[in-house]
């Protein structure tokens, strides 16, 4: 990377990956919080219920014992329970408030005075089993049940609820550290992917910057990992290839236009000048003017053909494409040129399958066919192909429409068969011939506009132009 600032935090934050990562972290942490809160609440309720149940059970047992045995047995039983390690809280006292057995040193007076259930802070003699080190081991919070037995005896049974609170605290601390870890890891992962994505994107941006500054042969790097970036890069490169090709074509056209329009323009100018300079009679001047007009007409024709080719190649047809009966177009052209061929001593045969319809521009297809037929007639006449035969055929072949224009003239040598479709291409043999050399280029452009192909074959003897519109 030439630009270190490319990876600045601000830029990183503006990337989609980082924003998406941040959003997902927020959603995840939020969900985890809701889930864990619910879990903690439910667990706490459950523990409370169990403790409550345990208290009730012990209260029942000790009541039963009290009714059946004497005071010493009770003291012994309560003291045994109280000496067990655990969250249990026990107190047995007499009417004067003297403690007979138990593990709690101090109770608020109200608890001993009135029966019922209380939640309170208490102090006990024994350490609470399993209490975390950060808590005072002799103090705790508890729920207790206070009951009055016979002979003024007071029994208090309870459970320390610190355990429950510890549990909730543990859940939330786990949650906190977990969430922190997730955030840190996600930010790291997001940052790394963003850097990666940014680097790939910067590759594309860099390429387009270079292209914009004029280097059209620059291409987006393809890593070969076959990921979505490679797909984008490949498609961009294909587009760039096409643009470069169009630009090259454009340059070629302008060069050719400059050449092919300048030559007749110069001729035109020379002729006009000559007519003026010589000061000859009105007859010569008139003739010069007539040639001038004829030549300017030819220039306009060349110019129009160039425009039409450019439009067709740019894919913007003149007039929308519509459902067109190709059979009709082909037979119209055959009918239009039949007499022309006949006058030239040729025969023109048409073998046209009816009902060949496709989405097309009638005018352009007609013009393309006219160009092919005019070419066939011209070369047959030039090749002194007396009694030659021109055949126009149109048929459907396995889902595609094929149109052929064949002649029995001199034909086109194999190496030239592709080149004839280039703009201003004229075979060496016919270099001196008039004609703009745009006819076949137009055919090619029109056919490509209709997503078809055109090529020349050997008609043995002669040339055969074959146009194929696949899936038409």
């Amino acid at each position: 990377m030439t630009d270190k600032r490319a990876f600045s935090l601000g830029k990183l934050w503006r990337t989609t990956t980082v924003r998406l990562t941040a959003m997902f972290i927020a959603i995840f942490v939020g969900f985890a919080l809701i889930l864990l809160s619910f879990l903690a609440y439910q667990t706490s309720v459950q523990i409370q219920r169990q403790q409550s149940y345990a208290i009730d059970r012990e209260v029942g047992q000790l009541r039963l014992l009290a009714s059946r045995s004497n005071i010493n047995t009770m003291i012994f039983a309560v003291q045994r329970l109280a000496d067990r390690p655990g969250p249990g809280i026990y107190y047995l006292g007499d009417a004067t408030g003297t403690m007979l057995a138990g593990n709690v040193t101090d109770f608020p007076a109200a608890v001993l005075a009135e029966q019922g259930r209380y939640e309170l802070t208490y102090e006990r003699g024994l350490e609470i089993y399993g209490a975390p080190g950060d808590r005072d081991p002799t103090k705790g919070r508890a729920i207790v049940e206070s009951i009055a037995l016979a002979d003024g005896l007071r029994l208090v049974i309870g459970r320390d609820i610190g355990e429950r609170r510890d549990f909730t605290a543990i859940i939330f601390s786990t949650y906190f550290w977990g969430a922190l870890a997730i955030v840190v890891l996600s930010v790291l992962a997001g940052g790394i992917t963003s850097r990666y994505v940014l680097r790939r994107i910067d590759g594309i941006t860099g390429t387009s910057t270079k292209i914009m500054s004029g280097n059209l042969s620059e291409r987006v790097p393809v890593t070969g990992r076959n990921d979505e970036f490679d797909a984008v890069a490949t498609s961009l490169n294909a587009m760039l290839d096409r643009i470069e090709q169009l630009m090259a074509g454009m340059k070629e056209v302008t060069d050719n236009v400059a050449h092919d329009l300048k030559t007749p323009l110069t001729r035109l100018r020379n002729r006009a000048e000559a007519a003026l300079r010589e000061g000859t009679g009105p007859e010569t001047q008139r003739a010069a003017l007539e040639t001038t007009i004829a030549e300017s007409d030819q220039l306009i024709r060349t110019f129009n053909a160039l425009l039409l080719i450019a439009r067709a190649e740019a894919g913007t047809p003149s007039g929308a494409l519509s459902e067109t009966d190709l059979s009709e177009v082909v037979s119209d052209v055959a009918e239009l040129y039949g007499p022309v061929a006949e006058d030239a001593g040729l025969t023109l045969d048409a073998d046209i399958e009816p009902g060949l319809t496709m989405t097309a521009n009638r005018e352009l297809i007609g013009q393309a066919l006219v160009n092919l037929v005019e070419n066939a007639i011209k070369y047959s006449v030039e090749g002194q192909d007396e009694g030659g035969r021109i055949t126009i055929a149109a048929r459907r072949e396995r889902g595609s429409i094929t149109i052929e224009v064949a002649d029995t003239g001199p034909g086109i040598p194999e190496p030239d068969r592709k080149r004839v479709f280039e703009r201003f291409a004229r075979l060496e043999a016919s270099r001196t011939e008039p004609g703009a050399g745009l006819g076949l280029a137009l055919v090619s452009a029109v056919v490509r506009l209709h997503k078809g192909t055109v090529h020349f074959e050997d008609n043995a003897p002669g040339a055969k132009a074959v146009i194929v519109f696949p899936n038409a």
Partner: protein, 223 residues
């Protein structure tokens, strides 16, 4: 014929006005769209020649407004835009013919003379006659001096178009447009070949040659 020319190119306009004048037509000139529209709706003309791209108001909207006011004066649109859909747009706006720049004066002249005739009620005629040549559009029968002339369908349309505009020059492009419905310019003399065939069928063996070639312009059928 009274002609209104709406064209912003002064040089082209003065050339056209002069040339039309030499052909015996009275031509008024408007150099922008608004003036042109005011003149067209204020006076009676036989033909309007309207440039498509004009300052202050474009040619198509002038014709559209005139048509909306039920003014049916035939209008020829002049345009540098020669694509098929430009032509279609022009005709849809109410133009009667469309001529792409640059054009030959003879082409323009032939077209406006045919257009001016179009406003006459001759359009609905079913029977054409030039000297002893008759054409019946309903029975599609052509007779010369009482004798049946056998024509191919396209030859019939060719003769029909010529006879409809009898006494007026029709150019080769006009024939290609109206008889074959193609708007391009063929390289070869394809129209001449068809005309000579038609001539062989209609004029051969007759003393009076009705189908005439007008040098540098086109063809005409005339008594």
């Amino acid at each position: 014929m009274k002609i209104l020319l709406i064209e912003d190119d002064r040089e082209a306009a003065s050339y056209l006005v002069q040339a039309l004048d030499e052909c015996g037509h009275i031509t008024h000139h408007a150099a922008d769209g608004e003036t042109g529209y005011a003149m067209a709706s204020g006076m009676d003309y036989d033909v309007l020649i309207v440039d498509r791209m004009l300052p202050r108001r474009d040619g198509l909207s002038i014709i559209e407004s005139l048509r909306a006011e039920d003014d049916k004066t035939p209008a020829l649109i002049l345009s540098a835009l020669g694509e098929v859909d430009d032509r279609v747009k022009g005709l849809r706006a109410g133009g009667d013919d469309y001529l792409v720049k640059p054009y030959a004066f003879s082409e323009l002249l032939a077209r406006i003379e045919v257009l001016a005739r179009r406003s006459a009620p001759a359009e609905a005629e079913t029977h054409y006659q030039v000297a002893d040549l008759t054409l019946d559009r309903l029975s599609r029968r052509v007779e010369r001096a009482g004798e049946h002339v056998l024509l191919q369908p396209r030859e019939f349309r060719l003769l029909e178009y010529l006879m409809k505009n009898a006494g007026r020059v029709v150019t080769r492009t006009m024939l290609l447009e109206n008889v074959w419905d193609y708007h391009f310019d063929p390289q070869t003399n394809v129209i001449d070949v068809h005309m000579s065939r038609l001539r062989a069928k209609v004029d051969k063996g007759h003393e009076r040659q009705l189908l005439q070639t007008v040098r540098g312009a086109g063809y005409m059928i005339r008594d």
